[in-house]
Each structure stands twice: as structure tokens, then as C-alpha cells.
């Protein structure tokens, strides 16, 4: 039995007296997509911050491909094969689109020449090739989201953490984004996806992890989770039903 690609145990983050994330266990297998859901303030982004090295966990262990990466700085975690996108897009505004992606490509360890071909290929892949030379600050929201994904992909991760890449997209843009995530998986990249839109997360995910008040409420296939009474009570019952008129 091989251990999962990403194995997280007892992940905890305490801010002052508040436990934003408390004892979360997570695992991600090669080629899997795991959905991470939960109400606002459930600690989803804090989990990503800790996994990617943006925040140091208070307690817990993170193993990536058999290597412990707990508490590593983000750039080392990235070089080790895991990176993330941000909920609110964070492009390098003074750089061109190509240069944004090149930063990721060399950040993942590629030499300059190789980085250029990776960048060109990645931009083609996400559909930004035509914008390659524009300054990043001039892009539209969907293109900024594409750029966010392209920059992360260019680091050639084994695990990609997507933080609400679908938020703010129009209904017409949504299928494109879903297709993009599936295409990423087809490249052999495993993903954890934070998402508010339930249809999207249920469609995409092999498994779903539900967080509430920083704690793990339920884990299972999308079908299991949707039918879990505890989940319905805590999360779907209020926000989901209200938001989606169910």
C-alpha cells in the first residue's frame, strides 16, 4: 500500500486564542480531485495557507510525496511540487503576462530557456497566448484567473491548490473554467479545490471534505456528503439552501 501523494494530519492553526483550523486530516491521491467546502470562516483558505507554506501551522504534519514539508517556506513547498492560487487574484501587475508565468516557471526550478518554452506552452494551454505581451494589469477578471492558474501550473506542480477560481465568473464562463480544471487533472496533476458553487464542486470532485468552524465535519464522495444529515444541518441547510433556493 503506497501512501497518498499528499498526507495531512492534525493540521491546526491558532490565532491568539482562536483556533481557525483545528486538527484537520486530509489526503490526496495521485490524479485525484478533492473538493474543500464549508461556510465562510470555516478555515478553508487557512488550510491552503498552511499547505502552501504561506502560514506556519501551529500543530500538525504535512507530507508531500513521502517528504515532510511542514512549516516550509512557500517557495520551498512550491519547488517540492505543491503550489496554490489565491482567492483574490494576485498577479504581478508591473510584469507582462508572459513574465508572470515565467516567474512561476523558474520558481519551479526550470532554467531560463526551458522556462520560456514552459511559459509559452502553459499560456497556450490556459488560452492566454494572444495576451502574452500585455501587461498583467490590463487583463479582464477571467483572464486574470487564467493567469493565476497559468503561473501556478508553470511551476510544474504535482499538487495544485485552487482557491475559488470560479468565483465572480459569469454563467457563460463557468463551463470553460470547469473544463480547464479537468484538463489540468488529465495532465496528471492532483488538485484540492475550494469552491462555493455546489454544482461545480459536486461535478468535479472525487471526494469532498467539509469544514465547519475549523473542524472537519465530514469526508466522502459528493453523494455521501450531500446526504449526510450533519452536513445538511451545519452548512447546506443554511447557506446552500438560501443561496440556491433549494
Amino acid at each position: 500500500m503506497t501512501s497518498p501523494l499528499l498526507d495531512v494530519r492534525g493540521l491546526t492553526k491558532q490565532f491568539g486564542g482562536v483556533k481557525a483550523v483545528n486538527g484537520v486530516d486530509l489526503s490526496l491521491d495521485e490524479g485525484e480531485i478533492v473538493g474543500l467546502i464549508g461556510p465562510n470562516g470555516a478555515g478553508k483558505t487557512t488550510v491552503f495557507n498552511m499547505l502552501s507554506g504561506t502560514l506556519r501551522p501551529t500543530r500538525g504534519e504535512i507530507h508531500l510525496a513521502g517528504r515532510e514539508v511542514t512549516g516550509w517556506r512557500a517557495h520551498r513547498v512550491c519547488a517540492a511540487g505543491m503550489t496554490r492560487t489565491f482567492q483574490v487574484v494576485r498577479p504581478f501587475r508591473s510584469l507582462s503576462v508572459t513574465d508572470n508565468v515565467l516567474v512561476g516557471a523558474t520558481g519551479g526550478g526550470a532554467a531560463e530557456g526551458q522556462a520560456r518554452s514552459i511559459a509559452a506552452e502553459t499560456l497556450e494551454f490556459v488560452g492566454l497566448a494572444a495576451q502574452a505581451h500585455r501587461p498583467a494589469r490590463e487583463l479582464s477578471l477571467i483572464d486574470l484567473k487564467r493567469l493565476e492558474v497559468a503561473r501556478a501550473l508553470a511551476t510544474r506542480p504535482r499538487v495544485l491548490l485552487l482557491d475559488e477560481v470560479f468565483a465572480g465568473l459569469t454563467p457563460r464562463e463557468l463551463p470553460l473554467a470547469v473544463e480547464l480544471v479537468q484538463a489540468i487533472r488529465r495532465r496528471g496533476i492532483s488538485l484540492i479545490v475550494i469552491e462555493h458553487l455546489m454544482q461545480v464542486v459536486m461535478n468535479l470532485s472525487d471526494r469532498v471534505v467539509v469544514l465547519n468552524h475549523g473542524e472537519e465535519l465530514a469526508v466522502g464522495t459528493p453523494e455521501e456528503v450531500v446526504e449526510n444529515p450533519v452536513v445538511i444541518e451545519a452548512y447546506l441547510g443554511t447557506e446552500y439552501r438560501d443561496a440556491h433556493g433549494l
Partner: protein, 347 residues
């Protein structure tokens, strides 16, 4: 970092698309070459030295301009590319001026003392700024602003080393080792080479991964780290490069002005001028400080002669306000925007 990278078999994107895709321009395929600016710079310098060498007044203006090209390029590496707006760069120039004066007055050759001082200044200065790396934006500026003020009072106080408020003078008898020449040509050549080096360093940074990393860190260090950029190491490289070039500029400048005292060495004027020149030419652009210095320094020499007193400082202040408000990208940035607009109109 490369040792950590995962085996590329799993995640290497499939190579179905050609290396160059439509939309990637000639500049992206250009190999990194410093040859052209190097040769052009050396030829220009030789011509300049021959042309203005005999004329002490013109030579003086050219030497000043070349010095400020160096100092502003040095600042630009940290403030322009990496977004750490230091308001205290006079510190590194001033301390180096003092150190090399002390060494030469104690029997050292300038040529031997300068490399040692540049290395020492770089190490000490980087250690000094390192704790400030976690300060962002204006907080970093405030902290660096205070450094030359402290240095001024310490220089006045430490009379044994610095000559107190009287300052120290450079030797006067011509001597190659002590860098005292009657002709202006050696000064022109040495500062010319230093300025050329500083511009080439910027061009190099501009064309390599390190320049993108500096800009990425300046724009958003959290996102940069997530994309694999070691932000602290990038800041260290920028800081050390910037201080080394500033120190080199200082080691030269004192041979030319032949005098150093606390108020001139650590003047706010100096810290401000490097910022102003870089912004005027174009913040975070490799030729920005060069353009800024070529425009402003000769004009400044004329102004200082024509209107003694505070007029040139008044104009600097006003120019800084006007630039940031109306031309925040500087002359080069404004010009490139204009070009883009013209091209779009034609298309």
C-alpha cells in the same frame, strides 16, 4: 532549490506545441547579451574622455553625471526593481567616502582599499538593512531615512576617525596609488567604467530571471513565494548589489571632491537625488537612472551656479511632486506608453 524539484516525468507538460507560439516577440528569443551596451559604452566613454578631458569645467559636469548615473542605478536596483524605497542611500555612499579617505590617509593605495571597503560595506550594510526586510512600503522608507541622520551625529562625535564636523581631506600631491591626478582624464575613465558597470548590472538584471523575481517580490511577495520565488533571498541579492554599487560610487567620489564631512557625506540631498533621478528616467528600468542623470545633473550644475541658495532644492522638491503626479513611469515609461499608443492608432 533544483535539488528539491520533482522528477519531471510526472508533470512535464506535453510538448506538442512548438517552442515559440504566436504572440511571442523577437525580444523573448533574444539571448542575453551584454556585448552591445558594453562596446557602445566603452567607445562613448573613450570619445568623451578625449573630448572633454582638457576642459576642466565640462569634465567636471561629465564626472558628476557619471557618478550620479552610478549612484542612481545602484538605488534603482533596490528601490526600482525590488520596490524597497530607501530614503537613506547617502549612508552607503558617505560611509565609503569616509572609509577610503581614512585608508588612503593611513598609507593605503586607493586601488587596494576600494575593493576591501566595497566588500565590507556590502556585508555590513546588508546586515543593517536585513532586519528591515519585514517592513513594508513607507515603513521601510522611514527606517532608512533615519540611518544617515544617525550616521551624521556619530560622524560628528567620533572625531578621531572622521575629523568631527571639520571633516577630512584627500591627499593633494599627485600620486597614482592615492588617486590624485592633475589631469581630469583618469577620473573620467575610472568613474566612466564604474558607471558602465552599474548600467550593465541593471541591464543584466533586467534580462534575467532575477529581474522578474525582484519585480514580482515588489508587486506581491506572498504571491511570489507561492510561485516559487525565494523572496528573502531576492531581497538580499538586491540589497547587496545596490549597496556594493553605492559604495563603489562613494569610494570614487571622494577622490574627485577630495573632501568629506558629516553634512555632505550623509546629506538628505544625496539620498533624495538618487530617488529623483531614477523616477525621472523611469523607476525599475535599466536605463532609467542613466537618462535621469544625463538630463538633470548638467541642468543642476547650471542651476546651482546661476542661483545659489535653495533654489535647486526647491525645484527638486517641486519636480518630484510633478513627476509622481503626472509622469509616474518616468521619461522612458512615458515614451514607451506613447509608442504603444501610436502603434495602436496606426494599426
Amino acid at each position: 532549490m533544483t535539488s528539491n524539484s520533482v522528477p519531471t516525468t510526472v508533470d512535464e507538460p506535453p510538448r506538442t506545441t512548438p517552442v515559440t507560439v504566436p504572440g511571442v516577440g523577437w525580444r523573448d528569443r533574444l539571448p542575453v547579451r551584454l556585448g552591445t551596451p558594453l562596446v557602445a559604452g566603452l567607445v562613448l566613454l573613450a570619445v568623451l574622455a578625449l573630448a572633454v578631458g582638457p576642459n576642466a569645467y565640462l569634465a567636471g559636469i561629465v564626472i558628476e553625471t557619471l557618478f550620479w548615473i552610478t549612484a542612481a542605478s545602484a538605488w534603482n536596483v533596490l528601490g526600482g526593481y525590488t520596490g524597497m524605497l530607501s530614503l537613506g542611500h547617502a549612508l552607503f555612499i558617505g560611509v565609503s567616502m569616509y572609509a577610503v579617505t581614512y585608508a588612503v590617509n593611513h598609507g593605503w593605495s586607493w586601488w587596494a582599499a576600494t575593493p576591501l571597503i566595497v566588500v565590507a560595506m556590502t556585508v555590513i550594510g546588508t546586515l543593517l538593512l536585513f532586519p528591515g526586510f519585514r517592513l513594508r512600503g513607507p515603513f521601510f522608507s522611514l527606517a532608512t531615512f533615519a540611518l544617515p541622520l544617525i550616521a551624521t551625529t556619530l560622524a560628528v562625535y567620533a572625531k578621531g576617525l572622521t575629523g568631527g564636523s571639520q571633516g577630512e581631506t584627500w591627499p593633494v600631491n599627485p600620486s597614482g596609488g592615492q588617486f590624485v591626478f592633475v589631469s581630469r582624464v583618469p577620473y573620467l575613465l575610472v568613474i566612466g567604467v564604474i558607471a558602465l558597470v552599474s548600467v550593465l548590472v541593471s541591464v543584466f538584471i533586467d534580462r534575467r530571471a532575477i529581474g522578474r523575481r525582484m519585480r514580482a517580490v515588489a508587486d506581491d511577495d506572498v504571491a511570489a513565494e507561492a510561485a516559487g520565488v525565494p523572496a528573502t533571498r531576492t531581497r538580499l541579492i538586491a540589497t547587496a548589489t545596490s549597496i556594493a554599487l553605492s559604495s563603489l560610487a562613494g569610494c570614487f567620489y571622494v577622490t574627485y571632491v577630495a573632501f568629506v564631512d558629516p553634512t555632505s557625506a550623509f546629506a538628505l540631498d544625496v539620498s533624495l537625488k538618487v530617488v529623483l533621478l531614477a523616477i525621472l528616467g523611469g523607476l525599475g528600468r535599466s536605463y532609467g537612472p542613466l537618462i535621469g542623470a544625463i538630463i538633470l545633473i548638467p541642468a543642476d550644475s547650471w542651476l546651482a551656479g546661476a542661483f545659489p541658495g535653495g533654489v535647486h532644492l526647491l525645484l527638486y522638491g517641486a519636480l518630484l511632486v510633478v513627476l509622481v503626479l503626472f509622469l509616474p513611469q518616468g521619461i522612458l515609461g512615458g515614451a514607451s506608453q506613447l509608442l504603444v499608443r501610436l502603434r495602436r492608432r496606426r494599426a
